[in-house]
Symmetry: C2
Subunit: 108 residues, 2 copies
DNA sequence: CTGTCGTACTTCATCTGTCGTAGTATTGTG
DNA sequence: CACAATACTACGACAGATGAAGTACGACAG
């Protein structure tokens, strides 16, 4: 279990990662984050959906509504070129962040 | 230069680290963070001082006013046993956070 | 055929932490 | 004496996370 403040700066990055290999939608992304992190991080629903809104507003993802076969309404998201660029920036930033924080961590 | 959102969850931890080897005060801590991070992270004054208030409220640091020789008023802070325990928790959490975030980072 | 669970969201109000702006006061330096 | 550096404090704004609650559909058990 990771406290949210810690990972706060990477929620958007995590979501973008989930869209790297194709479109997906909220519930699926949520489950996948949980699975990938081996239950160590569970993004709250409201956090997830407000992140979608922010990411779309910034042009990092685009959405399309699929009011599918059986009536299940889902909003699918895709990463945009800008989103990909942003994701890569964040990956680079993450390396630096690790180096910096490590200086303030005393290994047990 | 690291964006604040990224390191947000570790400001308190960074400050506590600075107090591990003895008391210190705001301005000095600020300078030391900057130096230790090799200018990669500069904590804003307001962020620093509001962190002091929070840490003290939580019992992680204690303060003492030294209205020193020449009139320089400084507030010195010391880490408490609770603060030390909290710091160690955060160090452990940091290891897990790194593992988790790394799963969502695609190395260049 | 009814209740409950899982899916798939949305809305709203609140809280925490950061940050910009600004101001105060003292000490050291050219 | 002006100005930078030191050492804070106060205040208001804002972004992002969160809790609580609600909507709506399908599947499945009893």
């Amino acid at each position: 279990m990771i406290s949210s403040d810690v990972i706060r700066g990477y929620n958007d990055t995590i979501i973008l990662y989930m869209l790297l290999d194709g479109e997906s939608y909220g519930y699926e992304i949520s489950k996948n984050i949980r699975r990938l992190s081996e239950d160590k991080y569970v993004m709250k629903e409201t956090t997830l959906y407000s992140a979608f809104a922010r990411l779309e507003k910034n042009g990092y993802i685009s959405s399309l509504h699929k009011d599918g076969e059986t009536g299940k309404r889902r909003t699918y998201y895709r990463i945009t070129p800008d989103g990909l660029a942003y994701y890569r920036d964040k990956c680079r930033e993450w390396q630096i962040t690790q180096e910096v924080v490590d200086k303030f961590i005393k290994e047990a």
